[in-house]
Each structure stands twice: as structure tokens, then as C-alpha cells.
Amino acid sequence: MKKSGLFMLLVVLLSLGLIATGCSTTTSSKENVIQIATQSPLSGDLAAMGDSIKMGAQLAINDEKETFKKLGFDIELFPQDDQGDAKQGVANTELLVSNPNVLAVVGHLNSGVMAPSGPKYEQGGLPVVSPANTAVDLTEQGWKTYHRICARDDVQGPAGAEYASKSLNVKTVFIAHDKTKYGQGLAEAFKKAAEKLGMQVVSFEGIDQKEKEFNPLATSIAAKKPDAVYFGAMYNQSGLLIKKLGEKKYNGFILSGDGSDHKDLLQIAGKNNLKKTFITSVAGDATRTEKGKAFAKKYKDTFKLEPSTFSSYGYDACLVVLNALEKSIKDNGGKKPTREQLNKAISETKDFEGVFTKVTFDEKGDNKTSDVFIYSFAEGTYPAKYIKTISAANFK
């Protein structure tokens, strides 16, 4: 029995190992191959968003493949699943850092995964362009390899507050958040700005990220009858809250951040409940531009899916990388650039016109031109109707 058990173990281990041998072919250094990695959750309950980032980046690479072929390089996507988990994220980071073919990373959806991975990228000199981290402290750590194309919480929150106060004439506001790094950061930034603008914050409440039961929260909002509700959370939760608010006949405005910018919000909240819902987003309105329409069509053709905000972030972040890569190859006399050279080229990105965003990095790695756009869901369509642009320069 013992012997057969050992034997079985041997077989299991060996077969697992054999299965995994394939990787040895992928990680050995190849001169003309350049891999761009993505890091986002591809499994677990954030998979939908993580997938969008990956597919956005994939599309960007497909688009630019030919350009790099002409320069003599094969560019490949190297997608990694960080599972939205800090430990897995760090392990992936070490994998990428120790793989010489990987020159840049598009990634991390969660700020909480980026935070522990940041120092490891820094040690490996591997440049990162984040499509979606909004937590303020990430660019305050002095990391030279870290960049992001989206607006920080302390730009997006105040932009929402300004719109609520000046355009919607909101006097009292109920603020809630999902107790995550993203949601709470955004809600706190909104609160600070709201108080400065003279709004009365009637309540500031957290609710667990996994919570599905929004009746108590909706009831207390309906009882307090504030002019507006601000909810810092992802679309799945804000959708549920908006639905419950509708059922409780709450009649004020509802505001949220870019986490709610998702087509599923329409179904989850119900179109009728969205009549007075506004969101801030850092992605420009692509439905009006030719480029944006072309992107949406291509995306649909390739993946048989509607693009979401995160796919557009992923696409633009990857374009920023590829643009810098092309430049650094040329600067390097047509040879494969080092990570350092690529990082320098990325950091120097200036006035880059993506499909959805304009990108100029400042010395911290923040996007200087990350304007905030206000959208309305009143018509029950997705993408939501564009209302106005609030310049990031107002809040610097």
C-alpha cells in the first residue's frame, strides 16, 4: 500500500511536471521576441474586468504586430492571471521580472495588488503602465517604473463633487463606499471636495465589498432624503444599490465613479432606475470619434464581445507601451532595447493620443492630461451619454 502510494505520487508529480515543461521553451531568451505582459485577474469574481484589460491589450498588439515585424521583432502578449490576489500578483511579478523577453507590463486592475508588486518591478527595472489603478499613494512611492494613464482618486472624486455642486445644485449628499482601496479612496476624495464646496454630508458609510443585500442602506438613504447619493464601488454593487434605491422610491441624484462605467450596469440596476444617475469616467467618449467606432467594431469582430471601459483602458495602456517601444527600438539603432531604455521612453511619453485618453506622464508617473468626463445614464443606453469634460488641471 505504501509503495503503491509513493508510486502514484511519483506519477502525479511527474505528469504535472511534464505538462509544465512546455514553459521552458517560452522563457528562454530569444533575440527577436519581445513580450508585453498583462497582469489582471482572469479568474475569480473580478475576471470580467481583468479579461477586458487583457483583450484590450491583445487588440493593441494585433494592430501593431505588422509595424514591429518590419522592424524585425515579434511582439507577443504574455497574459498573467493575478487573481486579484496580492500573493499571486507578487509571484507573477517575479516571474515576469526574471523572464528576459518581457520588456513591459500592462497591468494590475487592483491597487491592492499593485502596491506589493511595485517594489519588485522597481528592483527588476521592469516598466509598468497601469490602465486602472486610481489609488493616490501608488505614484507617491517614488517608483520610477510605474505609470498610469487614468486619473487618480483625488482628481476623479473632486470632479464628481464639482459637477454635483455646480451643475446639479446638490446641497446634501449621502456618501457610501465598498470598503476597498478603490471605493473608499474615491469616496473620501469626493467627501473632502464636497465639504469644501459647501455641501452637507449627511452620512459617510462603508459596506462590505461582497455584500449583495442593499436594502438597509437604501432604506436609510430613502429616510434621509439627501439631494444626491455618491457611491464609490464597482458596477456590480452600484447596480444593486441603484436598483434598491429605485424600489425604495428614492428620488434624488445618484453619482458614482468609473468603476460603474460598464454596460452591465443597465441590466443590474434596471433602466428605469437610472434616470438620474451620473458617473465620472476617465475614458473619453469614443462613440463620437471615428477611432473609437473603429475600435469597437474591431473588438467585436475579434472577440465577439462588446468592449467595456476596461478594454479601452487596456488598449490605450498597451498602445502607450508599444509607442514607446517603437521609439526606443529606433533610438537603439534597430536593436532590442533594454528595459531601462524602454522605461525611459515610456516615462517621456508626451501628448500621446490614444483612442480614449491623452497621455503625458509627469515625473511621478501620473497622467497630466487625464481629464474627467461626466456621463449620464438617463437614456438607458451604453455607452452612457456624454455630458461634459472637467479638466484635471483644476485639481492639481
Binding site: 459596506i207 436609510s220 452591465d264
Partner: protein, 321 residues
């Protein structure tokens, strides 16, 4: 916030808590039935609930796609979805028992727990996978069947679906009670719960009874899933885990293995949670708000178990030497 407006919230919070409590109670019944017979925490029960929610929603979506929804009475549609989901989840429960639990009936309990966790992971991922393949979506929203509501007074809105959920849950509970106490199969079930060996000597087919228990418990879980999907509108493959946990807590609170305990425990937990989530924040000046809801629920559990280690309605088990 003044006390007046806090008090005006009370009826609404109470009704919502009651609805949630009835959902918990129905799921808790499934846990408690299986535990009563096998002394096994069926960790996969939360996932069966989730599968039920998905099947019910898929049936409704299918009917909508085929265009027979519009002419159909919404109640009829709901019962159809309930029926299909219950049969399917019942069968699912029986097959899980057959494959993952029965071979382990005489193994240490921890091993069965591991197997149950395995089943749980498997179901989560299977559903995520099928939904991903067929709908390319993660969150699935079904058609809203019951959207009537009655504005009783300022601060109290009675929703049709709340009432329907409470009603259906009550019917199922009463039905189960009658089944267990009045029918031959129910008596066999109680006999097996008391002593498997003696029961088998009394010409009771223990395996069949256990399978039946799993069928009933799981179909109740599946039905709760359909009701949940109606109540909250949107479901995802991971709803089962937390809700299952809460329902299990409810079952333990009431005294696991005891059906009356599961019902009361579920309702109590739902009410306490809702009250806690609505009132903790204002009463502590915002320092301990709705985010402490689960702490509240689990603390109550621990306190109850401190004073009544066998749960509220559980019978104290005397140790046998």
C-alpha cells in the same frame, strides 16, 4: 440623525429583514436536514443554491427569448422556473451525494469536508464557465416577474416580491414539516437520523432515505436560489458561498439538525442583520456602521453558543462513554 426618522425606518427594515430571513431559513433547512441524517456539513449546499438561481434565471431567459413570456402569467412563469430548478438541483444534490459523499460515509468527517469543498469549487467554476461560454457575461440578470409595490405609508413600501418570497418559503416549510412528520418516508427519515443501523434492521433502505434527504434539501436550496434571483435581480457564480455560510450560521444558531431551529435561526439572523446594518451606524455615530454587519452576525452566533452550546433549539447531547 434624530430618533424620529430612525423609528420611521423600522417597519421597512423589518420587512426587508424578514424576507432575507426567510431566504436564509429555506437554505438552512437543507443544511440541517443533511446534518441531521449524516452529521455532515454539506459545504456544497451554498453552491447548489447558486446553481438553482442560475437554472431558474436561465429558464426565464429562455422563455423570454422564445417569446412565450409576454403572454404568460408571471406567477406561472415563476412556478415553472421554480419547478425546473428544484428538480434539477434535487438531482444534482443526489448525484453529489452518490459521487462525493457516499464512498466516504465511514471516513473521518474532515475528509468528507474536504470532498465537499472540492465539489463547491467545481460547481462554482463550472457555472462560471458555462455562463462565460454561452453569455460571455459574469453577472446574469433575469427578467423581473413581480414588480408590483404598495406604498403603505411614508417610509414603508411593501413589495410584491417580498410577500411572494415569504409566502412561498412558508408553504415549503409547512410542506416539509408535514412530509417529515406525517408520511412513511418522513418517518423513515427520522428513523435514519436517530440510528442508521437500527433503521436498516427495520427494513428501511438507508441509502434511499439519504438520497431522498439530499433531494429534498437540495431542491429547497435551488428554490431559494430562484427566489433570491427574483429578489435581487442579478446573480453571479459566487453568490452561494457567503449566503451558504450565513445559512449555515443560521442552522447552527437554531441548533443544527433541528428543522424548527433552522427556520427560526434563519429568520432571526435575517432580521438581526438588517437591523444591525441599518441602525449600527447611526447609533454609534458612524463609527461602527453597516460594514460590521457580518461581525455582528457572527458575534451573536458566538454569544449564543457560549450560553447554549447546542444552539437555541438543539438538544444537548449527552456524551456516551
Amino acid at each position: 440623525m434624530d430618533l424620529g426618522s430612525l423609528a420611521s425606518m423600522l417597519p421597512q427594515v423589518f420587512i426587508d429583514g424578514l424576507t432575507l430571513g426567510f431566504l436564509y431559513a429555506v437554505v438552512a433547512l437543507g443544511y440541517t436536514m443533511v446534518y441531521g441524517i449524516l452529521e455532515l456539513i454539506n459545504f456544497a449546499h451554498g453552491e447548489i443554491f447558486m446553481v438553482g438561481a442560475f437554472i431558474g434565471t436561465e429558464v426565464l431567459l429562455l422563455m423570454q427569448a422564445m417569446g412565450i413570456m409576454s403572454g404568460l402569467n408571471p406567477y406561472l412563469a415563476l412556478f415553472l422556473a421554480l419547478g425546473v430548478a428544484m428538480i434539477f438541483t434535487g438531482a444534482l444534490g443526489v448525484s453529489i451525494e452518490r459521487v462525493a459523499y457516499r464512498p466516504l460515509r465511514f471516513s473521518p468527517r474532515l475528509v468528507v469536508l474536504i470532498s465537499a469543498i472540492g465539489v463547491s469549487f467545481l460547481l462554482q467554476d463550472l457555472v462560471r464557465f458555462t455562463e462565460g461560454m454561452t453569455r460571455n457575461a459574469f453577472y446574469v440578470t433575469g427578467p423581473n416577474l413581480l414588480d408590483g409595490s404598495l406604498h403603505v405609508m411614508d417610509g414603508l413600501i411593501l413589495e410584491e416580491k417580498s410577500l411572494v418570497i415569504i409566502l412561498i418559503a412558508l408553504i415549503m416549510m409547512v410542506g416539509l414539516h408535514l412530509f417529515v412528520n406525517k408520511t412513511k418516508w418522513g418517518i423513515a427519515m427520522r428513523a435514519v437520523a436517530q440510528d442508521q443501523q437500527t433503521a436498516s434492521l427495520m427494513a428501511i433502505n438507508v441509502n434511499k432515505v439519504i438520497a431522498l434527504t439530499f433531494f429534498i434539501g437540495s431542491s429547497l436550496g435551488g428554490a431559494a436560489g430562484v427566489l433570491y434571483a427574483q429578489y435581487y435581480g442579478t446573480i453571479d457564480p459566487y453568490i452561494g458561498f457567503l449566503l451558504g455560510l450565513k445559512a449555515f450560521t443560521a442552522a447552527v444558531l437554531g441548533g443544527i439538525g433541528n428543522m424548527k431551529g433552522a427556520m427560526i435561526g434563519g429568520i432571526a439572523l435575517g432580521l438581526l442583520e438588517s437591523l444591525g446594518a441599518a441602525y449600527m451606524g447611526p447609533l454609534t455615530n458612524g463609527n461602527f456602521g453597516a460594514e460590521y454587519k457580518d461581525v455582528f452576525a457572527f458575534s451573536i452566533l458566538i454569544i449564543v453558543l457560549l450560553f447554549r452550546p447546542e444552539g437555541i433549539f438543539g438538544e444537548a447531547v449527552n456524551e456516551k462513554v
